[in-house]
């Protein structure tokens, strides 16, 4: 375990090296959120009632602000890294080392997630006083506990899903193109563009049970205290089951892929 924690610390320190990139990334991502929020302000101005699908304007702004914060814990990088390693043969060097590549990538990209979360959180602390009237704060102790657990589970789920998608490179020449397609679908179905309860009613319950709802939609609903405790706890159990299912799938795919894997050269 120490080796993984060491790599976590190392990659966290590396993230602090590229300051210009950090500032640029921070500015870009927050402009995107700002555009989304301004668009929804227009929707509410046009609607006139102040409530759209049960969301008040403060609820909608809060949803997008907190879900953008929670999305920093989606470990998309691990999938692309494993895919790259398989494609260019780097995997050969890694599989002979005395550690699990899965765990290594998890801790590496978790450090990156902490870094992204920290800088985004600090930025929001600076900006929030100017937009306080557009935000809600309904977090209770019970919701906070569920939120933290949900974020942890969502992080693990995102890593396992992306590792599965990255391991397509064992069979597909153009795995990364397929992965980007999945990224678009996952973003859509995880409520990145609009909250899942804006989807047709018949689909909402099913989408909430899907593992990607844990990325940001359910954590945002927990933050806003819009999910009853029992329902939140039940959903967490469902996501835990998804973690086990995805872990088993990862093991099966990894074993099948490694049998097929070959790399030319040393």
């Amino acid at each position: 375990m120490q080796k993984y924690l060491y790599s976590f610390k190392l990659y966290l320190l590396t993230s602090f090296q590229y300051r210009f990139d950090t500032v640029l990334g921070l500015v870009m991502s927050n402009i995107s959120i700002f555009i989304t929020i301004v668009f929804w302000l227009l929707v509410y101005r046009s609607n006139g009632t102040g409530v759209v699908n049960g969301y008040k304007i403060a609820d909608m702004v809060t949803f997008f602000v907190v879900s953008s914060l929670f999305r920093t814990f989606i470990l998309i990088g691990s999938g692309f890294e494993i895919s790259g390693m398989i494609k260019n043969g780097e995997l050969s060097k890694v599989i002979i080392k005395p550690y699990s590549i899965n765990m290594f990538l998890f801790w590496k990209y978790l450090s990156n997630a902490f870094y992204e979360f920290s800088k985004q959180f600090l930025f929001m602390l600076l900006v929030i006083p100017f937009f306080a009237r557009y935000l809600t704060w309904d977090l209770t102790v019970h919701s906070a506990i569920l939120l933290v657990i949900c974020l942890a589970i969502g992080t693990v789920i995102s890593h396992l899903i992306w590792m599965l998608l990255g391991m397509m490179a064992f069979w597909l020449e153009q795995a990364q193109a397929v992965m980007w397609s999945f990224a678009v679908i996952l973003n859509f179905l995880s409520g990145m563009f609009i909250p899942l309860d804006f989807f047709p009613r018949w689909s909402v319950k099913a989408l909430e049970m899907m593992p990607f709802a844990a990325f940001s939609y359910i954590p945002a609903k927990l933050y806003m205290n819009q999910l009853p405790f029992i329902k939140g706890a039940n959903l967490l159990l469902v996501y835990l089951i998804w973690v086990f299912v995805l872990m088993i799938l990862n093991m099966i795919v990894w074993r099948a892929g490694i049998k097929k894997y070959s790399a030319i050269g040393g």
Binding site: F20, D21, L24, G25, M28, I31, S32, I35, V38, F39, L41, L42, V43, R45, S46, N47, V52, N53, E173, Q174, A177, V178, W180, S181, V184, I185, F188, F193, I194, F198, F199, P200
Partner: protein
């Protein structure tokens, strides 16, 4: 004629490359169509709960979105691969080879390879656009269509010039890949009506400084008889200004350029 022949040869070479990497072509095409479809679904889901947004009905908003997609895919198909190759060439030193060729450097920066998957994925937004126009209870005249096409061309030129201006920073800063984020922000803004900017000064800033409004709002509003002469003039002026400024920036960059390799 010389440049036309060059464009023909480039198109042929790009097509030959596509024939080799068929799977990649199919996958990129699927991804582009998926992007368009999911974007349209987002608009449809919002309109389940509202009747109109800033006077734009569901069909009109989808037409706006499709117009943005058309501009986006034309840029990604014809220009974007060449812009990325340009900024790569500055850091790798291969820009020197571009300088010694007997072809205009502006031409080389903007042309070269064609992404046929992006061009083919134009089919989805064009079909949806035509269907939604048919569903609207308005008459579209020939003049509307001509103005739409003219300002669509203006939008592509404007986007190309704006991105070329940004990428000219590569002459000074070398690694400018982070600036592609501005492209995604620009396209995200262009999918929305100009009414998101409630303040007139901010609105004009998004025509003349960060030109998102002329990209899709102006052509779409002209198609839907919602356009205005000031918007048309502002869009045209913005297009011309950015075109001239971007060329001047590239020429200045070349004057200050020093090679990264021998």
């Amino acid at each position: 004629m010389y440049y036309l022949n060059l464009v023909k040869e480039q198109a042929k070479l790009s097509f030959m490359s596509l024939a080799i990497y068929r799977a990649n072509f199919v996958l990129m095409l699927m991804q582009s169509i998926l992007n368009t479809t999911l974007g349209i679904l987002c608009v449809e889901f919002i309109y389940i709960h509202v009747d109109s947004i800033a006077g734009w009905s569901q069909n009109e908003m989808i037409i706006l979105y499709c117009t943005s997609m058309i501009v986006n895919q034309i840029y990604r198909g014809l220009i974007n691969p060449n812009h990325l190759r340009f900024i790569e060439s500055i850091s790798s030193g291969s820009f020197d080879r571009m300088l010694i060729k007997p072809v205009s450097i502006i031409f080389q920066i903007n042309t070269g390879s064609i992404d046929y998957s992006s061009l083919l994925s134009l089919i989805a937004p064009i079909i949806v656009l035509i269907l939604k126009i048919g569903a609207l209870d308005i008459s579209i005249s020939g003049l509307n269509v001509i103005l739409f096409l003219a300002f669509l061309a203006n939008a592509v030129i404007l986007l190309t010039s704006f991105m070329m201006l940004l990428y000219s920073l590569a002459f000074k800063h070398i690694k400018v890949y982070g600036l592609t984020g501005i492209y995604f922000i620009l396209m995200s803004m262009s999918e929305k009506p100009k009414e998101i900017f409630s303040c007139k000064e901010i609105m004009y800033a998004f025509i003349m400084l960060i030109p998102s409004i002329p990209l899709a709002y102006v052509p779409a509003s002209l198609l839907l008889n919602k356009g205005s002469i000031p918007d048309m003039i502002a869009a045209a002026v913005s297009g011309i200004l950015f075109f001239l400024i971007s060329i001047s920036a590239i020429k200045k960059g070349i004057r200050n350029y020093t090679s990264a390799s021998s």
